[in-house]
Amino acid sequence: MISFVLRRLASAVPTLFIVVTISFFLMRFAPGGPFNLERPLPPQTMANLMATYHLDQPLWNQYLTYISNAVTGDFGPSYIYKDNTVAELIGKGLPYSIQLGSYALLLALIGGVLAGTLAALRQNSVLDFLIMSVSTVGVTVPNFVVGPVLTLVFAVVLAWLPAGSWGDGSLRFLILPMVALALPQLAVFARLTRGSMIEAMHTDHIRTARAYGLPPRVVVVTHAMRAAMLPVVSYLAPAAAALLTGSAVVETIFTIPGVGRYFVLGAINRDYTLVMGTVVLIAIFVIVFNLVVDILYGLLDPRVRHD
C-alpha cells in the first residue's frame, strides 16, 4: 500500500510539470498582458514595469525562471494585488475555500447517495420521479442563479440565515453557500447512485442474499450499496475539482474570502503568476483526490487491492 502511494506520488511530478508548462505558454499566447489597462500606460512606465517583473526577457528564460522558483515554493508576486505574493494570496484564502468545499462535498456525497438509493429502491415510483426531476434541475440550473434565489428566500424573505460573508465561521453562515455549491454535485451523485444501485440490485449475488433470507436492510446496505458505491467513489475526484472551481461564483455571491475569486480575476487581468498558482493548486487537488479515490477503491473492492 505504501509503495503504491509513493509510486503514485512520484508519477504526479511529471503530470504537474506538463500542466504547468502547457498553462504557462497558453497564458502567454493569449492577447493582452497584466498592465494593458483601459487607459494605456506611458511607454516608459510600461517598459519599467515589464523590466521590474522580468517580462521583457525571452519567453523561455521566463519559463525557466518560473519553474526553478516554483520548485522552491516561490510562485512569484501577483501583478494585480501588488503587495502580495501568489503564495500569500492562496495561503490566506485556501482555508476558507477548503472548509466550505469539504462541507459541500460531504453534503453532496451523503445527500446524493441517500437520494439516489431511495430513488433506486422505489424505481419508477412518484418518489423516484421527484428525486430525478429535482436532480435534473440541480444539474441544469447554474449556481449563480441558485445562490441569489437561496439568499432571497432564506436570508431576505424568511430571514433565517445571514445573506453572506464568512461571519464568525459558524455553520449558520456556511449553510447557504454550501448548499449552492453542493447542489449540482449532489444531483450528479444522486443520478450515479440511482443507476448503479438499480444495476446492483439485479445482480446474481443479491439474488443469493435474498434467497438466504437475509433481511432487506442487509441486502441493500451490506451487499448492494457497497457494490453501487464503486462508480460513485470514482466520481469523487472530478466532483472535488468542480467544487473548487465552482467556488469562484459562490464565494463571490456570498462574499467569502476564499481562493475562488482568484481563478476568475487572475484570468481576466492576465495576472500571469496568479493564474499559474491557481492552476497548480487545482492540479494538485485533482491528483490528490484521484489518489484518494484509488485508495478508497482498493478498500471497497478486494479485486483491485494494491499491494
Binding site: R7, S11, Q123, H202, T203, D204, H205, R207, T208, A209, R210, A211, Y212, G213, L214, P215, P216, V218, H223, R226, A227, L300, D301, P302, R303
Partner: protein
Amino acid sequence: MTDSRETILAVRKLKVSFSTPDGTVEAVKGIDLDVKAGETLAVVGESGSGKSQTMMGIMGLLAGNGTVTGSAKYRGQELVGLPLKALNNVRGEKITMIFQEPMTSLDPLYTIGRQIAEPIVHHRGGTFKQARTRVLELLELVGIPEPKRRIDSYPHELSGGQRQRVMIAMALANDPDILIADEPTTALDVTIQAQILDLLNSLQAKFGMAVVLITHDLGIVRHFASRVAVMRRGEVVETGATTDIFERPQADYTKMLLAAEPRGRKEPPAATAPIVLEGANVAVDYATGGGLFGGSAGVFRAVDGVSIRLREGQTIGVVGESGSGKSTLGRALLRLIPSSGRYRFGATNISDFSRSAMRPLRRQLQLVFQDPYGSLSPRQTVGEIITEGLYVHEPQLSRAERDKRAIEALKEVGLDPAARNRYPHEFSGGQRQRIAIARAIILKPKVVILDEPTSALDRSVQGQVIDLLRALQKAYGLSYIFISHDLSVIKAMSDYVVVMKNGRIVEEGDTDAIFEAPRESYTQTLMSAAFTA
C-alpha cells in the same frame, strides 16, 4: 419406495407470469409438483421450459415484473404470498439454493467466510466471530483444502469448482430440509462437474435433505435423481421414477428428449486421403500483466508444441476443459493469431504468410463460433451477413448471383430462404447457428473449424445441428476440426480425437480407441466424468 416418504413441498396449480411491453408472458402454466423428504427430484427441461422460474416463484425471487399465483406448501405452510418476514424464516434456513454461476452468485466484495456465516448469523443469531468455527467445519465438509487459510479468501481467488463448493457450504449452513440446485454444474468443466455432483450426493446421504435438481442434462438426471419431472413450455409433461422415465417414457416430448442425445459415429476417411491442413509444433504465447508500473511482464504459453494433420473428409475432435488451449489452437491453425510452428494448407507452405497473403486462402478456411448470439451482427440482415464473404472472395458476382447463392446456402442449412431479409434477433439459437454455418459454406470452403458450435444450444437442437454438419460434410467432402468440451458430441462427430490439457496434447487416436480404451489417466478421468450415466 419413495412413495412412502412424506411430501414436504407440495406445489399446486402454480403459475408464473411476466408482464412485458408485448403483454403478459406465462412462463409457468399451473403446474403440480411434489418434493418428498430426502429424495432427489430432477426437474428437467430445455431453455424456456419454466423449470428455473418455478423455483424462483416459490422462493419469492422473481424479477420485478414477475408474479406468482397458485400454491406451494412447505410442510403445510403456504409460501406463495407469504409476507417477506415470514418467507425469510424459510429461505436460507429450511429451503436453500445454489445457482448456475458460482462466480456471480457470490458477492465479490466479501470473503467467503463472511458470506457463509451470514445465513447462520441471521437465522441462528450470534456474532460472525462465533459462527467462524461452524464455517470452518462447513468448508472442511465441502472439501475446500486448507479451510483456515481459505476462509478469508475472496471469491475471485478461488477456482470455479471451489466457488460452487462454497455455495454448497452456504446452503448446508443451517441444515436445510430442501436444497434447490439450479443447474449447479452447467458452468463447470466436466471433471469438476462430477466432483460437485458426487459431493452433493454424499452430503445428501449424510444429512438426508431433499434435493431439487434443476437441469437440462439427462446424464446427470439418470445418475443422481430418484424421481424426474419433465417440463416443457411451462407445463409438466411427465413425472415418474427415474428408471421408468428413461426406460418407459410416456410423453412424446420425453421420448424426443431421450432420442436427442447425440448418436451415431463417423467413418474415418481413406488412409490415402490427401492432407488439407497441417500444423507442426504449433505454439502460442500470450503476454500477461506487465506494463510501466504493473510489475514484471509474464508470458503464458496457451498452446505448447501441438502437431495436427487434417485429411480431406476427416473430422478431428479436439477435447479439453476450459483453459486447455483448444480454441487458441483452432485460431492458430487458421493463422488468425500470432503463433510459431510450421503450417501447410494443401501443398502450400503458409508458415510465413502475412495477413494479406492469407486473404485469398480465407474462403477455403472457415470458422464457426460457439455463441450464435454474439457472432452475428445485429444490424445486418441475414442475407447481408451470409453474403459478406462473397464481396471479398468473389467480387465479380452480380447482385442477382449473390442472392441466388444466399438462397442456396440457406436451403442447404434447412432455413427458409425468406430468412435473408430478416435480422438475427428474430431467430432462435439453433437457427442462428444454422445462419453462421450458411455464412461459412456459402464460400465453398475446404476446411471448417467449428469452435464449440453446439455448446450454447439445447440438446434437441444440438442433435439437428450435428446432423446438418454431417450431411454437409458428406455432400462437399469438407474437413472439420471440431472443438468441444462435450464428449458425447465429439464422439458423434469425429473420427479422430485429440485430448488437450494445459496447451499440450495428452492423448490422440481414432475415436473408438480413445473412447473405449483411453490410455492416459487424464483421458480416463474425463471419460468417467462425462459418462457417469
